[in-house]
C-alpha cells in the first residue's frame, strides 16, 4: 500500500518534495549557467497535483510548440524527468554552445540533426545534474536513459507522462521548477522548465529515504 495519497499530501510531504526540487533545479541551473556563461535564476519549485487537462497549462496551452527532452528513470526511482523550453530558447542554447551555429537559415521549429544532438546533450548535462543531486541526497540509485527529444505541441509531449499516471489515477503529481535568465535581452534570454515525474511508489521511497 502506497503511503502517499495523491489527494491528501501532508504539508510536510509537500515541503520535502519542494526542497528536493529546489536542490535538483539548483544544481541543474548551475550546469546550465556554466554552459551559457550567464547567471540564471530558478523560481520557487512547485509540487503540483494536476488533472491531465491541466498539464499543458504549465507551459501555456496544448498547442504551444515546445522542445521536450525526456529521460526515463529506473533503479530505485522510477518515472520520468522532463526538460522543456521554447524552440527559440533551445536555438539560443545551441548557438551559445556551438559558437554561432544554428541560428541562421532554418525556421524556429526546424532543427537539423546537428542541432538536435546538441539540444539532447544539453538536456543530458542539465537533467544529469538535477538527478545526481537527487540521488546524493536520498542515497537512492537513479539510472537514467539516453535523452529523448521531441519538438511538438505541449499536449502531445505531456501525453506521455499523463498516460503513465493514467494507469493508476486521474491526476499527475509532479515537481516543477521554472528557470529564467537574469538578462532581459531578448536575444540571449534563456528560460524553461524542469519537471520531475516519479511514479507513485518512488515518491514513497524518496520520502522514506529522507525519514518522512
Amino acid at each position: 500500500m502506497s503511503k502517499i495519497d495523491l489527494n491528501e499530501l501532508s504539508s510536510m510531504q509537500y515541503d520535502v518534495l519542494r526542497e528536493l526540487g529546489n536542490i535538483g533545479a539548483g544544481n541543474a541551473t548551475t550546469a546550465l549557467s556554466q554552459l551559457v556563461n550567464s547567471k540564471i535564476d530558478i523560481g520557487v519549485p512547485q509540487v503540483r497535483l494536476l488533472g491531465f487537462d491541466e498539464l499543458p497549462s504549465i507551459v501555456g496551452s496544448e498547442e504551444k510548440v515546445m522542445v521536450g527532452i525526456l529521460l526515463m528513470l529506473s533503479g530505485d526511482i522510477q518515472g520520468m524527468m522532463m526538460f522543456l523550453m521554447d524552440p527559440q530558447v533551445a536555438k539560443k542554447l545551441v548557438n551559445q554552445l556551438m559558437g554561432g551555429y544554428g541560428m541562421d537559415g532554418n525556421g524556429e521549429e526546424d532543427f537539423n540533426d546537428m542541432e538536435k544532438s546538441a539540444v539532447m546533450e544539453i538536456g543530458n548535462i542539465i537533467a544529469g545534474a538535477y538527478l545526481r543531486s537527487l540521488g546524493d541526497m536520498t542515497n537512492l540509485t537513479i539510472d537514467v536513459s539516453v535523452p529523448l527529444l521531441q519538438i511538438d505541441m505541449a499536449g502531445a509531449i505531456f501525453s506521455v507522462p499523463a498516460i503513465e499516471f493514467g494507469k493508476i489515477g486521474d491526476k499527475v503529481l509532479l515537481i516543477e521548477t521554472k528557470f529564467d535568465d537574469e538578462r532581459v535581452d531578448e536575444k540571449t534570454d534563456v528560460h524553461g522548465y524542469y519537471i520531475l515525474v516519479p511514479e507513485l511508489e518512488s515518491y514513497d521511497k524518496i520520502l522514506s529515504s529522507l525519514g518522512v
Partner: protein
C-alpha cells in the same frame, strides 16, 4: 452561431450540427470521432489507454478504448443517432519518443491504443471511414458535424482533411 466544443484528455462530448468538436495536441492518445450522417449527431472521445480491464482504477470510462467507445456510442444513440448509420474517423496514437528496441511498453502505447480502438469499432459494427494514426508527431483535430469531415493540424505540416 456554431460552437466549437473542446474535449479534454480522457473526456468525451457530443454535439449536433452546426457545432464542431475539437481536441488539442493529441499525442499517444487517440481521438475517436463518431458520426451519424443523417441526424448529424456527432461525438468525440479522447482516450488514453487501450484496455480498462488491465487497470484497477477504471471509473473514468472515457479514459479507455473499450469502455469509452461504448459509452460514446450509447450517448449518441440517446441523442438520436441510429446504430446502423454511425461511422467513425480516428486520429492520433503517435509514438512521441522512441526508446529502446521500439517495443518498450511505455513508448508503444499509441500503437496499442489504435489497435484497441479498431477492435472496439469492429465489435460494435461501426465502419471506420478514415484514419490518420501512428508516426511520431502530435495532432490537433476538429470534427465538423455539418460535413462529417475531420480536420487535422500538426506542427510543420499542411492541414489535412479526412
Amino acid at each position: 452561431m456554431c460552437e466549437i466544443i473542446k474535449v479534454g484528455m480522457a473526456d468525451m462530448k457530443t454535439c449536433t450540427a452546426p457545432d464542431s468538436l475539437t481536441t488539442l495536441g493529441l499525442g499517444s492518445c487517440v481521438g475517436v470521432a463518431l458520426y451519424d450522417p443523417v441526424s448529424k449527431v456527432s461525438g468525440l472521445l479522447h482516450l488514453m489507454l487501450p484496455d480498462s480491464t488491465q487497470i484497477k482504477n477504471n471509473q473514468n470510462k472515457a479514459k479507455f478504448a473499450d469502455t469509452g467507445i461504448v459509452e460514446l456510442y450509447e450517448e449518441m444513440r440517446k441523442k438520436g443517432a441510429l446504430s446502423g448509420r454511425i461511422v467513425a474517423k480516428i486520429a492520433g496514437g503517435a509514438q512521441m519518443f522512441s526508446y529502446g528496441a521500439g517495443n518498450n511498453d511505455i513508448m508503444s502505447v499509441g500503437k496499442k491504443n489504435v489497435e484497441a480502438t479498431k477492435q472496439m469499432l469492429n465489435k460494435l459494427n461501426i465502419r471506420l471511414l478514415a484514419e490518420d494514426t501512428g508516426l511520431n508527431y502530435g495532432r490537433t483535430i476538429i470534427f465538423d458535424s455539418r460535413t462529417g469531415k475531420l480536420k487535422i493540424r500538426a506542427v510543420g505540416k499542411d492541414e489535412t482533411m479526412i
